[in-house]
Amino acid sequence: MNRLVTGIVTAAVLLGLWQAYVSISGIEAFLLPGPVAVMVTLFERFDLIMHHLGITALEIVLGLLIGTLLGVTSAILIHTIPVARRIGLPLLVISQAIPVFALAPLLVLWLGYDLWSKVAMAVLIIFFPVTTAFLDGLRRTDPGMMDLASIMAATRSPLRRTISLLIHIRIPAALPALASGLRVATGVAPIGAVVGEWVGSSAGLGFLMLHANGRMQIDLLFAALFVLSLFSVLLWLSVDALLRRALPWQPDSFAK
């Protein structure tokens, strides 16, 4: 409750300063609209903004799901199979070194104007944090646990032993590291989707902002930006809460 009050007061002060500046300076509305004007536009154009939010949200969520699946699979392969490590590690670093913004036009060319080029952008942008975080976790398993479990599984074939160790020891022990990767991924996934929409699209909040900017509807741009930010924060908080519930054994200084 206290945190909520602090948040509301902070937001109110910042918005008040913004409104005061707009009112006193008399700056043109097509350069910087005040928060009141933005809120009015948000309610007037609510259906339009929500329609575009739905599309962007779908891109972000699909990107997160697919990127997580790809990242988790890659990390396990890179960790477990020596050949995959030699090929995969350089590819992984390259995937991050190439600016996704430079790839966006190509992705639109290859995958089209609709949803999938933006999903691909989001996947590309989160693949690296998810894979490296999980890989780090898989590499750092406590040697004592591994010794103990190896001896328990001593009578099994080497392949079955490796699989048992991976499933029962390495992967669960690496889940907190994966959770860190997912928190980063959730924070940056919207960037991928919105940049994709800027480069080429016919729907989504990124498209709406670009469109509004071109028509000098800066109030609409701000309203879309506000909704995008709010959605991103809520998404991150939900993922954070979900991860905490999924790993109750993990020490957490934020927990009550």
Binding site: A154, L247, W249
Partner: protein, 255 residues
């Protein structure tokens, strides 16, 4: 101290008879560094043998070599001639409990690793035997250090192996808890072959039938003592103090 150890007819704690080991000319190197060289040692069946030596001398390495966790020249021969795989239980430094599993599921880890059907009743009985009948559902983080070590002991007993390897298993708990855990371990592991590593002469005196002192670099067996009497041994006797002086002397010779 409860029921006579080793003779219990309780179905839940079947006793695996100990096996004797002959270690012949063992050697272990990490890269260019030789930890052990030409190390030979006989470990008697059904007894507790302590490897006593200063930290960093290679005691744990010897234990890992016997466990098959590191490779090297030399032979490890059981006196029944059969391979050791599947006949070893390990209790390492620290409790080694998996933080995401409940205490009961930690005791059942061996079955999980071998994809066997978990015998939950027997695991519960093991927890009761180490004095923790009510904490099956608790996660390790909610237990005290001494309780966690007892869960680790229950997990070791659950494996029911003739050879038990222990690597300073009680070094992380306070002195009083350590005494209690030593009593408990001596009682529970009676009749098995136990090879235990420690740097603490008092721990060796309390619970071992055979004390082997390791010193030097690469480590060699300095002395082997066979103190008289049953374990756990009282440490406030003249005999224990004489033994302690002898061990300290043997340890000092190496440096």
């Amino acid at each position: 101290m409860g029921a006579m150890p080793g003779t219990s007819s309780d179905h839940s704690t079947t006793l695996a008879a100990g096996i004797g080991l002959h270690l012949q000319d063992l050697a272990v190197s990490y890269g260019a560094r030789t930890i052990l060289r030409d190390l030979s040692l006989d470990i008697p069946a059904g007894r507790t043998t302590c490897l006593l030596g200063p930290s960093g001398i290679g005691k744990s390495t010897l234990l890992r070599r016997v466990a098959g966790l590191v490779d090297g020249p030399g032979g490890i021969i059981a006196d029944d001639g059969r391979p050791l795989g599947g006949r070893i239980a390990l209790m390492g430094q620290g409790d080694g409990l998996l933080p995401w599993l409940s205490a009961l599921d930690n005791v059942l880890l061996g079955a999980r690793m071998r994809q066997e059907r978990p015998d939950r009743d027997r695991a519960q009985a093991m927890l009761a035997r180490v004095g923790l009948p009510d904490i099956g559902a608790a996660r390790p983080a909610t237990l005290s250090g001494g309780m966690r070590q007892r869960v680790a002991l229950a997990r070791t007993l659950m494996e029911d192996r003739p050879l038990v390897l222990m690597d300073e298993p009680f070094s992380a708990v306070d002195a009083l808890t350590r005494l209690r855990l030593q009593d408990l371990a001596a009682e529970m592991l009676a009749g098995r072959t136990v090879l235990m590593v420690t740097h603490d002469p008092w721990e060796a005196i309390r619970i071992s039938h055979v004390i082997t002192v390791m010193t030097g670099d690469p480590a060699t067996i300095r002395r082997t003592l066979n103190p008289a009497g049953d374990t756990p041994r009282a440490i406030d006797t003249d005999a224990a103090r004489d033994l302690w002086r002898e061990l300290m002397h043997a340890l000092g010779q190496g440096t």
